[in-house]
């Protein structure tokens, strides 16, 4: 096996070398002897910075991981939908509300498709949106703090998969349901799915200044599976496109029963028209239960609010708002090129890509040339809207990205390759293998009007022998291609955490300068903050004990506490008094049935400890903060429940 890999690498190397040599007529004059020096292309020297930030979804980790391109170095894991003991997210009192849902506290999810906010169709780098697929939610991550700022639950949805794609001025972040369900949810036989289940497509408005999300309306569609989506842009701005499968409306053994129709649909939604409809009082407000969780950088705390109703829209009531375009073979991804002229359907069970023309679509709609209807929604004629088909020669196309230079790159899961083709002529220009079975690919800004077509990252589902083996469970594998020349060059691969379904990348020059370094203590409005060490204290309220604690290199104030009793519930409200970049302090308490905390400069976090045993119990700083980190510790005396020792606290006495 090892020999075989070496052989493969050798062959691949020579292929790359040859393609480098054969590239003399390419636009990029740097192609030449250097082109074969892939190490140089991905080498970011010690102390140097990467050119791009890449935000990769963590899949079943529920989080987002931040990588650098081209180095593939991981900088940070941002906790989003999952508890994260590393820093206490979802464990601390402040962040528990972030994971509240209408189902109660949900500590994990399956994160899928990150997308960066845009202004005029270009990345503006303010926020990153990502969907929780399992318990439908959309999160907004603040790209100054690189922390989750807001999570909104999506009612009437199940398998929040055709999400979270944003329109070109960040007007909406869109969340579509993969699984249709009874709306409203009710007890009914599963076999009565057909005609009774519905699919909700949610348009969540984004407040332009704050980024605050609110469900503007939900479009209640026929009970298909809404797999992926993309906004129109440029001339097609105002439309949104969703792929569907299971237009058969099967409710069991879908791998067979949902693959019977030769064509499923791409649903074209004129959201501007629906927006106008609801702004004129259209739609039906229906009861619902969904949480809206918001984190504040001032109070360093999240609040969770249960919302009680949502505006639904029956698409048949808004003529001219929704059309179906027949698309062969259970399409998965639907992608729109940077100019907004073409809509690419990736029929996952076929070899070919179907490309629709936005102009032809408008002409067909204007001409009312329909090919029947589905649940009262007009179906356009396939031939009328078809712009062309890419005869790829591959198998299992899933997703397409664009480089801004008129080329498209489509991933093929089954034939495990990336195929480069020309938009407009539909001719295949190049193909390169991926290792193995690629899902999404990503070009920085590839989801916008202005892609940065230098690198392409393929995110593969299967790793096998790419790295040193680590037992049965492996990380996933990403490959980096240089796409600056005519031919793609595989230049690097690196493991990725969880399952990165999709990623979004942005030039570092946009984000790095505004990355926040500390939280200002003076602006800390946490109700339990200890902003001056003279305010450090311990307060009893029944069996609740509140410790107002401060930390700075390298001690806690106070660090000796007596008067705590068995059966108490002790809240450590700890404020980091540092105002220096990259000086966090940690906190852990022996026997605590909770995570520890990692507290950034100027921040307050709270951890709960319920002492069960008498004794004198230590706590300490878990982050090596200074030369005297090992001295950063304290003791709590726990007395019997009935003892009458008064609370006392001290430092340095």
């Amino acid at each position: 096996m090892k020999k075989y890999s070496l052989y493969l690498v050798a062959v691949l190397g020579s292929v790359l070398f040859l393609s480098g040599c054969g590239n003399q007529n390419g636009n990029d004059s740097s192609n030449g002897a250097l082109a074969s020096n892939n190490a140089e292309k991905v080498y970011v020297a010690p102390g140097e910075h990467d050119e791009f930030y890449a935000f990769m979804s963590g899949g079943y980790s529920g989080n987002v991981a931040v990588y650098g391109l081209p180095s593939g170095r991981m900088f940070k894991e941002i906790p989003v939908f999952s508890q994260f003991p590393t820093n206490g997210y979802g464990y601390s009192e402040e962040t528990k509300p972030m994971l509240e849902t209408s189902f109660g506290f949900v500590p994990a999810d399956d994160s899928h498709h990150p997308d960066i906010s845009q202004t005029n169709g270009e990345l503006d780098g303010r926020w990153l949106f990502i969907n929780g697929n399992n318990t439908p939610r959309i999160a907004r991550i603040d790209l100054k703090t690189f922390e989750t700022a807001e999570i909104i639950e999506v009612p009437n949805s199940a398998g929040n998969h055709s999400s979270s794609y944003i329109t070109e001025n960040s007007e909406y972040v869109v969340a579509g349901t993969r699984f249709s369900v009874p709306i409203p949810q009710r007890d009914m036989p599963i076999k009565d799915y057909k005609g009774n289940f519905k699919g909700a497509l949610s348009f969540i408005s984004v407040e332009p200044e704050t980024g605050r999300m609110d469900i503007k309306f939900q479009l209640i569609m026929p009970g298909f599976n809404y797999d992926l989506s993309h906004p129109g842009r440029g001339k097609s701005h105002g439309w949104f496109f969703f792929t569907t499968y299971n237009t058969e409306e099967a409710n069991s053994l879908l791998e067979v029963n949902a693959s019977q129709n030769d064509k499923d649909f791409i649903a074209a939604v004129n959201w501007k028209k629906i927006e106008e409809y609801v702004e004129n009082g259209g739609g039906t407000m229906v009861p619902a239960n969904y949480t809206h969780n918001v984190y504040s950088d001032e109070t360093h705390s999240a609040t969770s609010t249960m919302k009680k109703e949502v505006l639904t829209v029956d698409p048949t009531k808004v003529p001219g708002a929704v059309f179906f375009m027949p698309t062969p073979k259970s399409p998965h991804g639907v992608d729109v090129n940077p100019t907004g002229d073409y809509i690419v359907g990736n029929g996952k069970l076929s070899a070919d890509l179907t490309v629709f023309s936005f102009d032809k679509m408008i002409a067909a709609i204007d001409g009312k040339k329909y090919d029947g209807e589905a649940y009262g929604l007009p179906i356009l004629k396939f031939e009328d809207v078809l712009a062309g088909q890419v005869k790829s020669g591959g198998l299992g196309p899933l997703h397409t990205e664009f480089d801004g230079k008129g080329n498209a790159y489509t991933t093929f899961f089954i034939s495990s390759e990336v195929v480069k083709w020309k938009v407009g002529t539909w001719e295949v220009i190049d193909r390169k293998p991926t290792f193995y079975s690629v899902g999404h690919c990503m070009i920085p800004g590839g989801n916008s009007r202005k892609p940065f077509g230098k690198y392409l990252v393929s995110m593969n589902k299967i790793t096998k022998d790419r790295y040193l083996p680590t037992g049965p469970e492996l990380e996933h594998s990403a490959q980096l291609y240089d796409i600056s020349g005519d031919k793609m060059e595989l230049i690097y691969d690196f493991p990725t955490h969880g399952e990165p379904h999709y990623a979004a990348a942005i030039p570092a020059s946009i984000l790095a300068p505004k990355s926040q370094k500390i939280y200002k203590l003076a602006e800390n409005e946490h109700p339990f903050a200890t902003k001056n060490v003279s305010d450090a204290r311990v307060v009893r309220d029944g069996n609740e004990v509140h410790v107002y604690m401060a930390m700075i290199r390298s001690h806690f104030t106070p660090d000796n506490i007596e008067g705590v009793k068995v059966g108490d519930k002790v809240y450590f409200h700890i404020t980091n008094h540092e105002q220096d970049f990259d000086v966090p302090h940690g906190f852990m308490m022996i026997g605590q049935k909770n995570s520890g905390l990692l507290i950034m400069p100027g921040q307050t976090k709270t951890s709960v400890w319920e002492p069960k045993k008498e004794g004198v119990w230590p706590f300490y700083c878990t982050d090596f903060c200074s030369a005297l980190h090992q001295e950063m510790q304290g003791y709590i005396r726990v007395s019997p429940a009935k003892s009458n020792i008064d609370l006392s606290w001290s430092l340095g006495e």
Binding site: I518, I552, R553, E578, Q579, D580, F581, S626, A627, L628
Partner: protein, 214 residues
């Protein structure tokens, strides 16, 4: 002499730059501080180069037992220096005006310069005393006590001028914009003196020169 007097006035006014710009700058870089911490010493007090630099310098200095950086009201210098500078500016402008209207001659300009130089040297001497005290008057309970090879306790006096390595810190201390403006202003008063001297003392030779070239 009128030109000299104007130069004298401009030169004295340059000292006002000390109210807008720092006199001295001390930067502290270390492996852990690729962006160095820094303090700007103004005649009215000490400020951090970045918002939290003073707090962070104090935080680090507590390990070696140094006192915290004094606030403006904790040192008499920050009250007296501004008064001295204002006084010298007023005196310089007054001398310039008196020179302009012919009440005094150019030698007063040199007198101002000499007085300012003496005051400046006294100021530097005082500043150095403070640096010495700040760097060597250490808390006996300091967390880190370093002993020099000769057995004496290590002190942490930043250099008055130039560069010094203090433990893990690279410390540089150089005049800042306000000081450079002051130096330029003082130099201008010397220029005023020379111009005044030339214009009055060599009046006749100037005439001769004129004849020779005609």
């Amino acid at each position: 002499m009128k030109r000299a007097s104007i130069i004298m006035i401009v030169g004295s006014l340059c000292l006002l730059g000390l109210f807008a710009f720092p006199l001295w700058n001390i930067m502290l870089g270390a492996p852990q501080y690729p962006d160095p911490l820094g303090m700007n010493i103004h005649i009215t007090g000490i400020q951090g180069v970045s918002e939290f630099d003073l707090q962070n310098i104090d935080g680090l200095n507590h390990y070696i037992g140094m006192k915290t950086i004094p606030k403006a009201d904790e040192m008499w210098e920050f009250n007296v220096f501004p008064i001295v500078i204002i006084g010298m500016v007023l005196l310089g402008v007054l001398l310039g005006i008196l020179g302009y209207i012919g009440k005094i001659d150019y030698r007063y300009f040199l007198g101002w310069f000499l007085l300012m130089s003496i005051l400046g040297i006294m100021g530097m001497y005082d500043f150095n005393l403070w640096l010495t005290d700040y760097g060597s008057n250490l808390d006996p309970h300091a967390i880190i006590k370093v002993i020099n090879e000769d057995g004496t306790p290590m002190t942490y006096k930043p250099p008055l001028f130039g560069y010094k390595k203090l433990l893990n810190f690279d410390v540089s201390s150089i005049p800042a914009t306000g000081a450079w403006l002051m130096f330029v202003g003082m130099a201008l008063t010397v220029v005023a003196f020379i111009v005044g001297w030339k214009s009055t003392g060599s009046h006749s030779s100037h005439q001769t020169h004129k004849l020779a070239t005609s």
